[in-house]
């Protein structure tokens, strides 16, 4: 079986890529994609920890958690895109550097 560490390294890589996109990109949609990557990195972790845990057949906590995360991520994207659209209607841009009405 593939060792647990490999999954954790994969998850850490996906998480870092997501964090990099979320902090570095100036386009709101790209930031949203970064956030999705971060949530999915957590999902990889949860499933890996569940599978390599003491009793994967009886204790399904990790799987259930991952399902909830998927559902929450969907809700988050729905609201996020709605907010992006409402900003786009008002300003015709989704570049975060142009959102500078509030500052100081």
């Amino acid at each position: 079986m593939v060792p647990l560490t490999w999954y954790l390294i994969l998850a850490a890589f996906v998480f870092s890529a997501g964090l990099f996109a979320a902090l570095g990109r100036r386009n709101a949609i790209a930031v949203l994609m970064g956030i999705e990557l971060m949530l999915n990195a957590a999902n990889i972790n949860l499933i890996a920890f569940w599978r390599y845990g003491p009793s994967p057949a009886q204790n399904l906590d990790g799987q259930i958690f991952a399902l909830f995360v998927i559902a929450v991520a969907a809700a988050e994207v729905a609201v996020g895109l709605a907010l992006v659209i409402s900003v786009y209607r008002n300003r015709r841009t989704v570049n975060l550097d142009d959102l500078d009405l509030l500052k100081g």
Binding site: L19, L23, A42
Partner: protein
């Protein structure tokens, strides 16, 4: 595991509030093309929030119980629930008129408002990582909607998007930290996690990353130092009543969850998180106070002030006592009760202050310092009330802010964290400067400054709630015995839970 209907009985207040939220949505679908009256939805909101508050009071005397295996109904969560429902209730009554005028879609707004209250009630009662994550996400996602709910307003939608982007990054980081807690211990229950971390030293490698990642997520909710950038933008752009509850109820939830996670899951590893909290708290106080000095907009100034106040509140959690070493029951200051008392006093102070800001926005069309010039002539009562709130934020004796600071700083000194106490006192001195600037322009406007023209009235609801908040500030400030007793019971329960 079986979950019967009977085990859900302790959740009755939250179930009722959710029913209210669904009722609003159903009424709106039957109301036809015109849509129902926003004022009616607001009335339903107020009634159901009142039911929730009464429910919390009724449960206060009872034994701690656990509903559906994951929701703890104990004195700690009930204390927080009282703060939450009171905050939401005061804000709904005072801010209803303001919101109904501006917000498009009254039914969506008010049902989300009730759902947020439910989400916060669950977040403070959760004893399980899964429920904590889901409740905090529920709270955050609905808050993003409310912040951006004035769709035509450029500032409101910008504030909503910024809050959303910062917030979802923070909760993704928190979730990643939670996966390590689960991976190291194989459990999602906070008490079981705490037991494993205390007994099994082979999993200690997971503690530091987990604490840091989870603190990043919760530090965002409570606007602690490195994660506060969203606060001023969101507080300034959001509708003022939404700002009022974000700065009180939502912040209280962040601190409550932080206390639960740290004291239940990491109680045996205090040496890891106490220095982290102490450092964050000093950074937060300085960042908030120094940035507040150079603001010209009262709403934005209060946003930075709320960052600084979060630093003081965090001191209480930093100086929390170790229940394995000392007898918690014999101590009058255990740190955690200071945090709870502070949150209760801060609730009345900050909601009152934001409601005065809202009234001034209604009267003059803005919240810059210029709009507050000579407020005492336009509305003597609002100006006087604002002075009371400002004095309470500084921490003048006889006000709620003093009692909160007394318990928080007292716990810090008792713990011999003299450095933190000195830093906090320096910050109180800095904060007095900008709070009193607002008082000065309200009462003694400069000669050349022309007061802004009056374009509207304050409204009777706002006046009433501001009066209640003034009474609340003096109640916590002068007769705090009851609050202290509740806070003691709540904090002793959480500290001795393991």
């Amino acid at each position: 595991m079986e979950i019967g209907f009977a085990s859900l009985a302790p959740l009755l207040p939250e179930i009722l509030v959710s029913v209210g939220a669904l009722l609003i949505l159903i009424l709106d679908t039957t109301a036809g093309k015109q849509g129902g009256s926003s004022r009616g939805y607001m009335a339903i909101t107020v009634i159901f929030l009142l039911l929730g508050l009464v429910g919390a009071f009724v449960q206060l005397g009872g034994q701690p119980q656990t509903a559906a295996y994951v929701v703890d109904i104990d004195s700690f969560s009930l204390f927080l629930k009282m703060i939450i429902y009171t905050a939401m209730l005061l804000t709904a009554i005072a801010g209803g008129g303001y919101l109904n005028q501006r917000v498009s879609g009254g039914a969506e707004f008010w049902s989300s408002y009730l759902f947020i209250s439910v989400a916060m009630a669950f977040a403070v009662s959760a004893n399980n990582l899964l429920l904590i994550f889901v409740a905090i996400e529920f709270l955050s996602i609905t808050s993003y909607i409310l912040v951006g709910s004035i769709r035509e307003d450029l500032r409101s939608s910008e504030a909503g998007l910024k809050y959303f982007l910062y917030g979802s990054v923070a909760s993704a980081i928190m979730l990643y930290g939670m996966t390590f807690m689960y991976g190291a211990t194989g459990s999602l229950n906070l008490v079981e996690i705490g037991t494993v971390f205390a007994e099994n030293s082979t999993v200690h490698a997971a503690i530091i990353p987990a604490v840091i990642l989870v603190m990043a997520g919760l530090g965002f909710k409570t606007s602690l130092a490195p994660f506060f950038q969203w606060t001023p933008d969101t507080y300034e752009g959001a509708p003022t009543p939404v700002t009022a509850y974000l700065s009180t109820a939502s912040k209280a939830v962040g601190f409550a969850v932080m206390a639960r996670v740290l004291l239940m899951a990491f109680s045996a590893n205090a040496e890891v998180w106490v220095p982290v909290l102490g450092g964050l708290s000093v950074l937060t106080m300085f960042a908030g106070n120094l940035m507040a000095l150079r603001q010209t907009n009262v709403k934005r100034m209060f946003a930075y002030s709320s960052i600084a106040q979060a630093g003081y509140i965090l001191l209480g959690l930093t100086a929390v006592v170790n229940s394995n070493v000392v007898d918690v029951m014999s101590l009058s200051m255990n740190g955690l009760n200071g945090m709870l008392i502070y949150l209760m006093g801060y609730l009345f102070t900050n909601i009152g202050a934001f409601m005065v800001v809202m009234a001034v926005e209604n009267m003059t069309g803005g919240s810059d310092y210029a709009h507050f010039t000579g407020l005492v002539k336009r509305s003597p009562w609002l100006a006087t009330a604002m002075l009371v709130f400002l004095l309470s934020l500084v921490g003048i004796p006889l006000t709620a802010g003093f009692v909160g600071k007394f318990f928080v700083f007292g716990a810090t000194i008792q713990h011999q964290y003299y450095f933190l106490a000195v830093m906090a006192l320096i910050n109180v001195a800095i904060s007095a400067f900008y709070y009193m600037t607002v008082a000065r322009i309200m009462f003694f406007p400069a000669e050349d400054g022309e007061p802004a023209p009056t374009i509207g009235g304050a409204g009777i609801g706002v006046q009433a709630i501001v009066t209640i908040c003034v009474i609340g500030v003096f109640w916590v400030g002068m007769y705090p015995a009851l609050i202290i007793e509740w806070a003691n019971t709540a904090s002793q329960y959480l500290l001795t839970i393991l």
